[in-house]
């Protein structure tokens, strides 16, 4: 089997060799994106359902493009959910998808672990498109793909992730994935936005951003969820920008060839200043393209491809 599991629920569940396989396959997929005819017939007759319980533009569009480039049929379902059970339960939705014969279900959901719940109830492959504050594995894979494309490797690189680590599924997946692949991961953010036990996950935590950026090969800024301010986790976006925003001075602490990344959408002037977001170090737009390639690779591998032998 190319991937051990029928699902992609998180990087915690993936072996380093599986991550390598996804990244290698994504490299071949990326070639297709450069062609005039961006379509291969690989997944003809297969159905990919995107089931989104949270607003998202890029992740959903990225998955749908990936599916279409591989000639799969796509259905998108937008659903509302809450703890007071408006609408259908996830258990019933799972049954419906099962009966509809979906081959892959890409789900985004506000509750951590919701993809695990779904995966245990459907035969289809479940791809986690972001679950609560848990994981966002495809984002981390595309980030790793982007880094590897520029640096040729992941092992030994210093990657600094800056922002709301506590609530970021992007940070969580990147920490887990990058540590697995042998990178040195540093995270920086206000103490109120750092969860406990980060060291045990293999990341070094900093509450000041400068030492975290020192000599970094990659600087990843996270989107600051502005509603955290109301919960009292930081005083103001102004102060946040002053203390943690990535600007030219801070970026200059990193290696001269450092990459600047952001999972998007950006709050310009808050977590990242426009000069660096649009500057030469930025690979933010490329991340979007690579996202499609990585998701194509995952769809291909989940639907039977990728083992060795011929």
């Amino acid at each position: 089997m190319p991937l051990k599991s029928k699902d992609v629920l998180g990087l915690k569940e993936m072996e380093p060799s599986e991550i390598e396989l996804v990244l290698d396959t994504a490299a071949s997929m990326r070639d297709i994106l450069g062609r005039t005819i961006k379509k291969v017939p690989t997944l003809r007759g297969r159905t990919v359902v995107t089931l989104f319980y949270e607003a998202s533009t890029r992740t959903r569009a990225s998955f749908e493009l990936a599916a279409k480039y591989l000639s799969a049929d796509t259905i998108s379902v937008t659903a509302a959910t809450s703890s007071v059970q408006k609408g259908e339960t996830l258990k019933d939705t799972a049954r419906t998808l099962e009966v509809m014969g979906a081959d892959v279900v890409v789900m985004r959901h506000p509750a951590s672990g919701a993809c695990h719940f779904l995966a245990s109830r459907v035969r289809a492959s479940v791809v986690n498109g972001g679950d609560g504050t848990h994981e966002h594995p495809t984002q981390a894979l595309l980030d790793m793909f982007t880094i590897r494309r520029h640096k040729g490797r992941l092992k030994g690189l210093v990657v600094a992730i800056v922002g709301d680590i506590y609530h970021s599924r992007v940070a969580r997946s990147n920490i887990i994935g990058l540590v697995k692949m042998g990178a040195e991961v540093r995270v920086a953010g206000p103490a109120t936005l750092l969860p406990p036990c980060l060291e045990e996950l293999g990341a070094r935590a900093y509450s000041r951003v400068e030492p975290a950026l020192e000599g970094a090969d990659v600087v990843m800024a996270l989107r600051l969820q502005l509603e955290r301010q109301q919960r009292g986790l930081f005083p103001s976006t102004r102060e946040y920008a002053r203390l943690y925003g990535i600007d030219r001075n801070r970026l200059s602490l990193a290696r001269p060839d450092a990459l600047l990344m952001h999972p998007g959408p950006m709050n310009r002037g808050v977590e990242v200043c426009s000069y660096v977001a649009d500057g030469p170090a930025s690979v933010i737009e490329e991340q979007v393209t690579n996202g499609v390639a990585v998701r194509m690779a995952l769809l291909y591998l989940l639907l039977g491809g990728g083992g060795d032998g011929s």
Binding site: D24, S28, P41, T42, G304, G305, G307
Partner: protein, 183 residues
């Protein structure tokens, strides 16, 4: 199921002679080789295409562009197989628009690989024509496909296995036919 060798079909010399003959036929058919490109199908079509290119250079002084085609994404048996090959890159570093493309593969059998290769090529552009060169044609076609150049025609049974071993991929030049071990 295990297989054992039944007979050697070609040795290194035999392979070389077959390729030289194919090269001559290619030149002849394409009136000197204007607009000619070679595209090898992964895996063993690739070294065979490279050898044809160097033979063409030797005998006619032709510089024929060389491409590599990975047909994994065009297979029609993804759903039924559990051991799909890894997707490798397609490397066709030239425009095939209006070119005379010679597809190269080691064994022509059901025709499905060639069908996939034709689709893959078409997605890269619109060549003037596509021709097919194979080292071995073992019969049992499932699609209306035939080769333009054949190194050796080899009648086989469906139970048998034709193994092409090339120095570049397998450390030796040899074509053998294998049959299932009894019992």
């Amino acid at each position: 199921m295990t297989f054992r060798e039944k007979a050697e079909i070609l040795d290194a010399d035999g392979i070389r002679r077959a390729l030289v003959r194919v090269a001559h036929e290619v030149v002849e058919r394409n009136k000197g080789g204007e607009g000619l490109v070679l595209v090898g199908i992964r895996r063993r079509g690739v070294p065979l295409a490279a050898r044809l290119a160097s033979i063409l250079k030797e005998i006619e002084g032709l510089e024929v562009p060389l491409g590599i085609l990975d047909i994994t994404l065009y297979r029609d048996d993804l759903a039924s197989r559990r051991d799909q090959p890894t997707v490798h890159s397609t490397r066709v570093p030239f425009d095939i628009e209006g070119k005379r493309v010679v597809l190269v593969d080691d064994v022509l059998y059901t025709g499905r690989t060639v069908r996939a290769a034709l689709d893959a090529l078409m997605d890269l552009g619109r060549p003037e024509c596509i021709q097919l060169a194979v080292l071995i044609d073992r019969g049992h076609r499932e699609l209306p496909i035939r080769a333009d150049y054949v190194g050796k025609n080899l009648p086989t049974s469906r139970k048998e296995l034709v193994r092409v071993r090339l120095t570049e991929t397998d450390g030796e030049d040899r074509v053998v036919i294998e049959e299932p071990e009894a019992g």
